[in-house]
Assembly symmetry: D2
Homo-oligomer: 257 residues x 4
């Protein structure tokens, strides 16, 4: 998890690689990523997913810098010796060859019958912030709180219905006003980014205080809990976890105190 | 597959049952189905899916009758002795308790992390015709034609990425101008409804001529092929197949001539 | 479920068909079934599985008739219009081309890496009674009793680890001395055969008394429970259920009283 | 992959850990591993699998040292921060509480109906060399050779029908007399141990000559091919690959020259 900044006028040449990459847009409006020929505008709160081996390049046409969190499974892919990369033939962003929302339609509606078998590479896709927020608010009232995590939502993969991608789960979590969660620990590490609100998290022996736009990390098997620092306002945390790998390999373990 | 007609002012009391039900709207605008508390407007070309055991009831507020194709797996469910049904406490349509597009957002975005395990019942959902048409046109040019079926698309299940529902596959198929497909046969029966265009299909010894709004049936293991009767215009067929059952049970077989 | 009898000297010409067939041997020793070239001896208590589309033919070389229960999903396959059958070129049992226990080794050990993908047809296989009995006795003591079924074991598919075959679950069930189970009902029908002991089962309004070699049927959604009639001896019931179909289609429902 | 040696009279206290461990016995007869209460004798060619979190301890009762290859996914488990370990209460091998072949029967026959859901930990199991050899010889004649690997067999998991364990695939490979395979490369690393015969493998720029009991390693993405050095005798290689992880994460890639 790293912040990246794209200055006005800057471009990133299109390329593709075996690591899967996600971007959570933090600030700035007016840059886009061209993903497999579709120009996807990046606005604060959007999550863009560049699946393993899909073409992507970016440009900033705005007057201001655009900042995002870059989320990758590159370290795992390197560990497994599976890193491969390819650059777009020209030193430029791939031209736009597909209409707006092409991948959204592909993910949610009719689909060529023979095109999707389980080993196929996934197309790129994105979650617009206004949809995320709306879906979250639809569910918020009716959900029972998890004792350890408040209300925890996952960005589900629109092509498979499963985890966001096979190696990472993107999540968004709400701590209700005044809420304090219980201590637990589990295999799988989590990186958090504060979208809204302020509060603190206990991680092992540490007390981490956080507010909007902060990031913090909870290593595997560390005891942790969260506290919303406000009595009136909700807090909202975006996070990335490697739990899908632990699930796939039979290594997920969890214990409460 | 049966046509159903709802007259202006008519309502159908909410109920739920173990058979899964789909509706492909053929004519009329202004009726709705309330599915698990969400009012879903029914417009021509829309496909509504009432999953196994989800509440649904309908009312027609328009000035004209609304007609749809009713598609169910009731005969299979009866065969298996698994038919169950329940009526809504009042003799009325269930009240609207959820905002517009609630289930669409649930199906395509963030989702409560613990809510979706493989044995859960699926929520209801719908495919709006304008989205279907757009997704289809996105793909049409780039798709290779199937020699037996022209260009064949499936309405994929937004919660699982698989077949439309576990017992039925809803499909939409385009025959390009002048296109004639090759003879083949397979296990699994298919019911067709002509959405656009005219042409003919050979089914066993029969030659079936069809035009807009006709329906025809291809029984399991009958040799069949299709012909678009126009040299200038595409033909479009909506269909329902029981292939998901044959796949699940290892009984799908196909042969070309 | 039907009893079949093969007289001394009789043969059944080899053939294959899309229905899957199981045989639970009831009486007689010395007949065999040749399955895909392997001669499998049939002894009381053995369960032979002729998977969908595998060659099989039989002969009785013994001095006595051999009797088995014939268990098929033919009615479902017919319902789906997927029945196909083929006869062996000669009017005879297929010659033995494979060594003894060929399919057992294939199912439990090393396997050609590229040979087993999920859509492949399954090879035939068998469960010898002495192994079944031994595995059952290994587990009997440590198992918690199911309140509705005593101790219930499934013949698991050695190639997939799942239900016996995709359409049928073969089970063996032990009622401990004096045990009476609670009333419950579920979708899915079950056919029972008494292997050992005597007792009774309540099925709807009926009280069915049974003893060794009896068969009885519990239709879908009928309330039922079982009672071992002996205070000293266990009772053992073999059964076949269509639950795998109900699971695959999301139609399994169960309720206790 | 490391050789381990257990001297006569030595014992290893029982313990369990999240890494999965396999042992391929190379030399010596008379030691055993007690796995979840079953004493499993270790003989040359046997493969023992101690699944994630299953108890195991060993002792050598023979007059000679016993040597095996120790195969673990510990480095991956450490990388993921999921390492956990527990020791048996006494400083000893866990007592034998289960009959011989208990786990073999559990894996191949009847099984408690409610005991096996997909997230359960797997029991330990073993493949006896004489069964492996026999299964391999059953298949050898009828198999088409893979152009890159000769005849390649996998030790399939008896509980799931899939890869040996979720993180490792154990394989055995036969190069026919005089056979030379074609160059290819793929993601996923492989460790080889020569069971029988002699020959050579090209790995990148290196030519590796090997004979019985040698080990060699092929890193991810290195071009490689194999050659049986004898015109009369087959060569047989045991190997371990991390391909199941690459498959699960969508990262398997292969290319031939």
């Amino acid at each position: 998890m790293a912040f990246q900044l794209l200055n006005p006028g800057e471009t990133v040449r299109s390329h593709r690689h075996t690591p899967t990459q996600m971007r959570f847009i933090v600030k700035g409006r007016g840059a886009y990523t061209t993903s497999e020929g579709e120009q996807m505008l990046m606005e604060p709160g959007d999550l863009l997913v560049q699946s393993n081996w899909s073409w992507h390049g970016s440009a900033n046409f705005a007057e201001e810098p655009v900042i995002w969190l870059d989320l990758q499974d590159r370290s795992l892919v390197n560990y497994l010796g599976a890193f491969m990369r390819e650059f777009w033939p020209e030193d430029a962003v791939q031209p736009t060859t597909r209409p707006e929302e092409y991948h959204r339609r592909l993910s949610s509606g009719v689909r060529p019958l023979k095109s999707m078998n389980p080993n196929d590479l996934l197309p790129p896709f994105q979650y617009k912030w206004q949809d995320t927020l709306r879906a979250l608010e639809d569910q918020l009232e009716s959900q029972n709180d998890d004792p350890y995590d408040g209300v925890l939502f996952e960005y589900s993969n629109p092509f498979t219905g499963g985890h966001t991608v096979p190696t990472m789960s993107a999540q968004i979590q709400v701590l209700r006003p005044g809420q304090t969660t219980l201590l637990h620990r589990h295999t799988g590490a989590t990186m958090h980014h504060v979208v809204e609100g302020q509060g603190s998290s206990t991680v092992g022996e540490e007390e981490l205080r956080w507010q909007e736009r902060d990031c913090f990390f909870i290593p595997a098997l560390q005891w942790h809990c969260h506290q919303n620092g406000s009595k009136d306002k909700r807090a909202m945390l975006f996070s990335i976890s490697d739990r899908p790998i632990l699930d796939a390999l039979g290594l997920y373990r969890e214990e409460g105190k």
